[in-house]
Symmetry: C2
Subunit: 267 residues, 2 copies
Amino acid sequence: MKSPGPIGFIRGLLRIISAKPQAPRSLQDNALLNVILRRRSVRSFASRDIPDDVFSAILEAGRVAPSTVNLQSWSFATFSAESWRAKFGHPIPFKARRAIIVLADTHRDRLALGTDAFPHSPLMEYTLAVMNASLAAMAMSIAAEALGVSSVMLSETGRSGMLDMAWLAEQLRLPSGVFALTTIVFGYAHGVYPPMPPRLPMETVSFDGAQGYREPAPGVMQSWLEQMIAGYKASHLTSSFEAQLRIYQNKIEQAEADLHRMIFGDS
Amino acid sequence: MKSPGPIGFIRGLLRIISAKPQAPRSLQDNALLNVILRRRSVRSFASRDIPDDVFSAILEAGRVAPSTVNLQSWSFATFSAESWRAKFGHPIPFKARRAIIVLADTHRDRLALGTDAFPHSPLMEYTLAVMNASLAAMAMSIAAEALGVSSVMLSETGRSGMLDMAWLAEQLRLPSGVFALTTIVFGYAHGVYPPMPPRLPMETVSFDGAQGYREPAPGVMQSWLEQMIAGYKASHLTSSFEAQLRIYQNKIEQAEADLHRMIFGDS
């Protein structure tokens, strides 16, 4: 990973500030589209509580999300600010008011269909559950946004996601076949929304399927990296993109071993 | 798997017809929430084309979806009705007008960060990419719904999803580290929306995180199974839930071996 020089830093910062999701002009008045495109991962919350009916509606969006063969291979562990603190001994990260730990759940399907419903296929069952649980997670996050509630999906902060799967399985007393993916924390945003972290250009992340996979144009990934590094430096006074990556690098080996054991049942 | 008798069948059918997503009364006028809760997987499309600007806006919702450390580990293979037919020799399933094959992409991150950015951790990198690509998939599906466009995420029909990962990797000439998860097919719904396939009760899919995982109440999974079987029989004249499961059972062993090879690079 090459770090950018000062010119790259400034260029990166300017690109972040000017970048906006691009709704076609003809559709700029569509309220829900705007909610989806303007959603941000928010990390600063007001002290105002989320009413029960609003939180229920967010969960309902997860409950009715689509899933492979309607198997609904997800579970949601819900928390208030108080119950999170009672459980984990510290506040919900970013002082959010509610939290949902989203679990990929293959256990419940096996109760319904029988443990021998499928030939031994741990990776496929795991993949299916991770995909479905993630669909539900996104539906809940967008539903929250539609209700004026901001959120962020955590992967690491406060041992909240897949890097601490084994620890979370213990904490939540999960049966085998249930995997903690991410914690979504919810609250009312404190202050204005931050600019969008640098997204890759549409022509980098999509391609004409009839033509086959397209590699990124030269320089695109380096430019994105410059923006990531500049954006982190500007918004996290005490951290950096490299430091954030190092947290992952340090935790991922243990997480890999744990996950291997959890999927394949070896030790 | 125990099949229900005729009373179970009728009971299942009545439950499906009466089940509706439950927005709290106080929020029933929220248009955006209603779009999310009333979304259905649609399998019957009108011949009307989706305008380019509408399809672009759907893709944009995927491009700006959130992801772990903003890594955007997804790619979208896009198709029109014509390019799908040219590529695969048959129409998009259900005569949809556009299709997006959603790919979990670990390849591009490695270009940016270097192949040795992380200690060897194929399962974690795979999980992260599957989760992120699924978040993008759900965002695109909800964005479509917001624009009046219906969709369904396919896992099997027409070799469109994770059960045919290896075949799709060949078809799309995917580099190693890129995995086809699902194909979303889009179009304008033909006729009225079908009732919601039977969702599990909220108290079955969620639990108080401070209390720990909760097993389903007795009978809940059997009741759900009755509804699934009845619903399939009522809506698929030539198929059944058991037949659909058998398709998965037959394909999953090969898919498991392929996926193992694709993740771990063995043969």
